[in-house]
């Protein structure tokens, strides 16, 4: 994370669509592993990006509770989609990581940490809600401060370069406006560059603003012209379109859930919840993990792996004698209460960014905003 420098809007530049190819090449040339959205298996996922034309031009996503469909959009926008099943956490905090290995030796064993050098990451197309999600995980893993620091996460995070993009539309499951995490990338967020796609019959450009000295230096290497007042107005209009959202989180949800740990609505959710853990896997801030100890056939080589885990499994809370949270109702309560309430106590903010992934990817369409509202509406009844 390079230090922030003020980036007033009047320093914004405009680059053409073709300049994105140059940006990707520039980043690759500097040794970055560039990751960006692309179309695969009927969804927009994040993966290695060699060229900008791999971006999902012309595709937009239709999202509702338990439903995700890609359709052709009205134009050739590269970022007309919103967010898919992936989030950037899979690169900063990989689903499976080797923590260390151990070799049996005379009279014991020797532990060594796996420290193979990794190329720095460059993310292209990070939404406002996702910048918030990264900031939240930075606090979880103690990047800047905390009792402990996850050194692997901190190293990847500090080296990562973030090219953000402002949303020009919202999906049906988006509720970032009510979480104050979007849709517009605000200057308090950590990003190197932020793009706004400007697209009509006559042109396909991007308004670009640098958020760091590193970003400004990158931008200087791209062909550009200064932004006009009309460009800025058009960009604001795009953000205004994305701010029209049909879902919203109820106000004061942190206190609401804290005061309703024993509410009969939990049982009502449990009748629908399959306990499949999808919501925790797609959530950009869920950080729970387990460890697996493995040995090779000789028994002389052992490894410890850290893998994503979910509070929805019965084993998650296992202590000798059984799981602490035996009922689905208790596990759903744990997830939503942690996300929206106790997260504030632990890390000073909500754990939710309003991205809507948990709603879209829930096989039965359980809606975090609707469940919170149901608790509020049934409160005291």
């Amino acid at each position: 994370m390079a230090s922030k420098t003020p980036a007033p809007a009047d320093r914004a530049g405009v680059i053409a669509r073709a300049a994105l190819d140059e940006l990707v090449a520039l980043l690759a040339g500097r040794g970055y592993r560039v990751i960006g959205p692309q179309l695969r298996d009927g969804a927009i996922v994040y993966d290695d990006l060699a060229r900008a034309d791999q971006l999902p031009a012309g595709w937009i996503d239709q999202q509702e509770g338990g439903s995700y469909r890609l359709v052709r959009g009205p134009d050739a926008a590269l970022f007309g989609h919103v967010v898919g099943p992936h989030s950037w956490k899979r690169f900063l905090y990989p689903p499976a990581q080797k923590l260390w290995q151990a070799e049996r030796s005379a009279g014991g064993f020797t532990v060594t940490t796996a420290a193979e050098p990794e190329p720095p990451l460059a993310f292209l197309g990070v939404r406002a809600c996702e910048l918030h999600a990264i900031a939240i995980q930075d606090r979880v893993f103690g990047v800047e401060s905390g009792d402990f620091t996850d050194s692997g996460y901190a190293a990847r995070r500090q080296a990562a370069l973030l090219v953000a993009v402002n949303c020009g539309r919202a999906a049906g499951t988006c509720f970032c406006v009510s979480m104050q995490t979007g849709p517009k990338v605000t200057e308090d967020l950590a990003y190197d560059l932020v793009l706004t796609e400007l697209l009509d019959d006559r042109r396909h450009d991007f308004l670009v603003t640098a958020g760091t000295a590193r970003g400004a230096e990158l931008l200087a290497g791209l062909p550009q012209r200064p932004a006009s007042a009309a460009d800025l107005v058009e960009a604001e209009a795009a953000s205004a379109r994305a701010a029209v959202q049909s879902r919203a989180m109820v106000p004061g949800v942190a206190d609401l859930l804290r005061q309703n740990l024993e509410h009969r609505h939990w049982d009502a959710v449990a009748e629908r919840c399959l306990g499949c853990a999808n919501c925790t896997m797609v959530c950009p801030t869920c950080f729970c993990s387990t460890v697996e100890d493995v040995t090779d056939l000789s028994g002389d080589h052992a490894e410890r792996w850290r893998k994503w885990d979910s509070c929805y499994t019965l084993e998650f809370s296992y202590i000798h004698g059984g799981g602490v949270r035996r009922e689905t109702a208790a596990r759903y309560r744990q997830w939503i209460t942690h996300k929206l309430s106790s997260w504030h106590d632990q890390f000073g903010s909500s754990g939710c960014t309003g991205c809507g992934r948990c709603i879209t990817w829930c096989p039965v369409g359980i809606d975090i905003t609707a469940e919170a509202r149901a608790i509020r509406d049934a409160e005291g009844s």
């Binding site: 049996r104 009279g107 532990v111 402990f148 050194s151 410890r304 000798h320 106790s342």
Partner: protein, 286 residues
């Protein structure tokens, strides 16, 4: 240095996820399913801890479990871990012999408020293997006995055969300035002592309700009834400390397993002042 609910010891190493090599100096059988390992660092480093803290013990190739340290910081050359073999890692640790190596991460967590209890009466309530995490606190109290008022140690076990640290309990009982009571839930052989639940002993008093600190460790149900009995005697929640148990994988607040409300038991606990968790303690499956 010590706060009312203990201190966070600085992590013993840069990367809290990597175990240090320790060597088993001694293995002692305690009960049919319980043993104690005396460990010493094998990397030339030291090991500082507070009573009530725990380590993550790694059996090569099998896995890692949290185990409370059962020795006091001033016990020379021995870092004791008393373990009940209830799973595959604890069984693997139990199969190790003196000279074998284990991996250790720690110490982690908060500690018993021994220094904060100076000048107070002490009520120490332990059940089953819950005596092990309290043993270092008891040793510290005995070593500086003059700093406390009345000291009441109440211990409950399943049967007379399940009484942990039996010889040591007998020796504590021999101190004229300690009130030690041991009770069992059921009798299977010759036993001339008490039969009944340990929480029932609190009613007998022997401590000043306004100027006592209570330390509890044992099964959660036992602690729940222990706290009620202390409340009935007039001991306030902020003077009661309990040691919680939850699933732990990382011990540093990253893995999420040990969450209890907003607390991470691994770093905000395991020792909690009861008033901090009182509201949550009564809620099932939290």
């Amino acid at each position: 240095m010590m706060t009312p609910h203990g201190t966070m010891a600085a992590p013993a190493q840069l990367d809290p996820m990597t175990p240090r090599p320790f060597r088993i100096r001694q293995r002692r059988k305690e009960l049919a399913d319980t043993f104690t390992l005396a460990l010493a660092p094998d990397d030339g480093g030291g090991f500082a801890f507070q009573p009530g803290q725990f380590n993550m013990l790694y059996a090569f190739g099998v896995g890692e479990i949290p185990v409370s340290i059962s020795s006091a910081p001033d016990e020379p050359g021995e870092i004791l871990h008393t373990i009940r073999a209830v799973g595959k890692v604890s069984a693997a640790l139990g199969a190790l012999k003196p000279g074998d190596m284990v991996g250790v991460r720690g110490p982690f967590g908060t500690s018993w408020p021994v220094e904060a209890a100076y000048g107070s009466d002490l009520v120490i309530l332990a059940g089953g293997i819950g005596l092990a995490p309290l043993r270092p606190a008891i040793r510290q109290v005995i070593a500086q006995r003059e700093k406390f008022g009345n000291v009441v140690i109440l211990y409950g076990a399943r049967t007379p055969e399940d009484i942990l640290f039996r010889k040591e309990l007998q020796s504590w009982r021999g101190h004229f300035d300690l009130n030690v009571e041991v009770t069992v839930d059921r009798v299977t052989g010759a036993w001339g002592g008490r039969v009944g639940v340990v929480t029932g002993l609190i009613r007998q008093g022997g401590f000043d309700r306004l100027h006592s600190i209570a330390l509890l460790c044992g099964p959660e149900v036992m602690m729940r009834y222990g706290v009620r009995a202390l409340h009935d005697c007039g001991v306030a929640s902020e003077r009661i400390y309990v040691s919680m148990e939850r699933n732990m994988k990382c011990a540093v607040g990253f893995c999420g397993h040990c969450q209890f409300g907003a607390s991470f038991v691994c770093k905000d606990g395991p020792v909690f002042p009861f008033d901090r968790i009182e509201k949550l303690f009564a809620i099932p499956e939290l």
